[in-house]
Symmetry: C2
Subunit: 457 residues, 2 copies
């Protein structure tokens, strides 16, 4: 039996295994679910071992598990570091899910559940391709190191120290990330850039405790209103971020970069139908794809303050707070931007309240990779074969902390080689992964390892 | 035994009874606690009967109970309608309470628990005074009708219809409200005005569901940011409400009214120390007491949107919403003001979001009462005797829906005769009632009934 046949025969078993993996609520953002992140790592360690990987170990990185496995018997061939993450986003508003987020279900060829496409389905694909090759051929065409982390969704606070500490073990010629996306079911793409990220929390404090809004309204500042004023002041009327220095280190888009992004088909009507957003809105002077992929943004991800129960409670709250993240592009530095936003918020504190800003440890540097890097050339060849056409060369608005880290620490580039599609609700309710993409991803990984045997560096 | 001695002897029993009353979580704003509001009414019905009141009944007003009792054997004497409310505010943030809000506790002569001062302690006082008089004298100096409601904290949506329906039964010469306050332990005051109120909820909707802030940030409007912009736009830089028509019907303060308010001692330092607010803030051109008592305000009482859990979740939320109440002064109309605010919010909807505004049923008209009304003259005489000095004549920032209602429907004025003090955390965590004020209130009510026998109309 050849390895593609092995994959085809085992799809029912693989789908059952992915379903089992999705049942583990490995939410990295929630301290109460930390044991589940570890349970997930142990489940995957067993799966890596079953696939034929060696030296499988679960090691701590901060409070989180890091999973490693290797197969290093392809003497003379390149060494490829395969990356993925088994932690998932919090499920968010439970009532928006059609079924509970950690009780996976299948509908019309789609497997639903938190983490289905981001990243559990995607990270399983290379493991299954490796198993297929080892079971049918007894060997892999390249040396492989698999590194799966459990803190990607909180921007990998402990990853820098871990990678620094394990430099020798992780040494490789090229990294390939199983966390990534394709353009559609019929169009492939290769991401040549990802945005970075920084995160802050701002709290506005007024009176010592909630006050009766009748007895005190008119005498003291309202922390919600003060926070709203601060947030409203973070953008100008043209959608630009109103923070001194925010755009200072942004490398301007070249004419060629803008042309490449213009070459990508983008239908505003389709986009709005898919997201349900009433209109495209953003920074003046840039297209939507430029604004998503190549311009920095500042978003308020959550806000809370005062009474949120049923009916009316006429209070002036004691405090209100908001969570803010910025997406960054080369050459913005996460620390510097977080500090600039924090400074602006502190300096603009309205009268009658105290403003506290905490820069959160979640951060990622923006990443870019040459379009014609040998790794991209190999990946493009596989995608051309599987999709029957040239991939687009895109820039992603998302962030994967490890990309810039591997470049800095190990001196290697990372090919983005994931098979999620943009409508699959990652970071949203009813996340799913197309089972057809799951199977295609396994095939693609096998072919990529073959390609990289001759073309990785 | 005379009736004041009866009161003194029974204080331990009365404190135990108030404690039992505070154990009932009669939160009118929470539909899940509706049965507790009814249980509270039945508890009080028994207490009224025990006190010697007659024709005690619990009747529905909408989904809420209304409690009535009477003693009408003082032929030729005036008839006094005594008002109070046995529903309480929601407890708010549980972790801010030193003990659970419905497990009352005593510390340094203060009885703590939700509703202690607003209004369970205050409403019990006249009932106990009536009991003392009936047990010792066998009669009351006036005819008394007691009306206690269970929906004051949600602004009495069903009270207008109830009072209209029971006009004949409620007919009286004067109303006295056991919901009210004094200035301090050593200074009394008589309120000559209360603000009205209207309430709204605004919801801003963007995409159909939460979106990944990396993959979409830059392309669509963020509902939290749109809501913040709307809220920030509701006040100008001088603290005035920026809604067309908001101030149109405000009767300007006369020079005499401003002088009366100026005569009240107000220490900004004490106020700030008591509330913990960093500074006095509000509408330009008015003193703090004017802004609280005699100027309308708009407050955001609660806001919510996006991710509020631990850590970071990089989403663009699908929606965000805020609860808003306005306090109103003569001659603002609650409906008209709510509509004006709703219109302003809808007209200012930022691009890329939908704005929905709901005017809530909670409303109260502003109220004022002549300083030299015979009821106030009688009350002032009692307060002068108990406090050894002239009361202040103040305007309250709070709202009690029944005041304007009784004036409109029964044609009677209402004396505000409560004994809570401004630091007792009503509508806030760790609400309490001073046991000394509780005893003083009982004495005051007995004396007031005696005064009103000769001077109520």
């Amino acid at each position: 039996m050849n390895w593609p046949d092995y994959l085809q025969q085992h799809q029912p078993a693989f789908i059952a295994q992915l379903t089992a993996l999705l049942r583990i609520p490995s939410v990295s953002a929630d301290p109460a679910l930390r044991p589940e992140v570890w349970r997930c790592a142990r489940w995957l360690a067993q799966r890596l071992t079953d696939a034929g990987l060696e030296a499988v170990s679960v090691d701590p990185a901060g409070d989180f598990p890091m999973l490693y496995g290797e197969w290093l018997h392809a003497a003379g061939a390149p060494t490829i570091l395969i990356y993925g993450h088994f932690d998932v986003q919090p499920p968010g508003e439970a009532q928006l899910w059609r079924h509970p987020p950690f009780e996976p279900w299948i509908e019309q060829g789609r497997l639903y559940g938190r983490g289905a496409s981001d990243d559990k389905g995607n990270l399983l694909a290379p493991v299954l391709a490796i198993e297929a090759m080892l079971r049918t051929l007894g060997r892999l065409p390249v040396n492989v190191k698999v590194l799966l982390e459990g803190q990607e969704e909180i921007l990998s606070p402990d990853l820098p120290a871990f990678i620094h500490r394990h430099q020798a073990r992780l040494a490789c010629d090229l990294a390939v990330s199983a966390d990534g996306w394709q353009w559609s079911e019929t169009e492939a793409d290769l991401r040549t850039g990802l945005r970075g990220l920084c995160a802050l929390e701002v709290t506005v404090t007024g009176p010592r405790q909630e006050l009766h809004a009748g007895s005190h309204g008119g005498a003291v500042a309202n922390p919600i209103q003060a926070l709203a004023t601060l947030i409203a002041g973070l953008h100008d009327a043209e959608g630009r971020v109103r923070v001194p220095g925010f755009y200072r280190d942004v490398r301007p888009l070249t004419a060629a970069e803008r042309a490449a992004l213009r070459a990508i088909p983008f239908s505003a009507a389709d986009y709005l139908a898919r997201t349900g957003a009433p209109a495209l809105v953003g920074e003046a002077g840039f297209s939507a794809l430029e604004r998503i992929g190549a311009r920095p943004t500042l978003e308020v991800n959550g806000i809370t303050g005062g009474y949120r129960g049923p009916g009316v409670m006429t209070i002036i709250p004691a405090h209100a707070s908001a969570k803010i993240t910025c997406r960054l592009v080369p050459d913005q530095q996460p620390d510097a931007i977080a500090q600039a936003v924090a400074d602006a918020l502190r300096q603009r504190a309205p009268a009658g309240v105290r403003v506290t800003v905490t820069v959160l440890p979640n951060a990622a540097r923006p990443y870019r990779m040459a379009l014609d890097h040998p790794g991209n050339v190999a990946a493009a060849r596989v995608l051309r074969r599987l999709y029957g056409r040239e991939p687009y060369y895109t820039k992603s608005g998302g962030s994967i902390a490890i990309l810039a880290l591997l470049e800095q620490t190990l001196g290697v580039a990372t090919v983005i080689f994931g098979f999620g599609l943009p409508d699959e609700n990652f970071h949203a309710p009813n996340e799913f992964f197309r089972l057809a993409q799951f199977a295609r991803a396994q095939l693609a990984w096998g072919q990529l390892l073959e390609e990289l045997a001759v073309n990785a560096r």
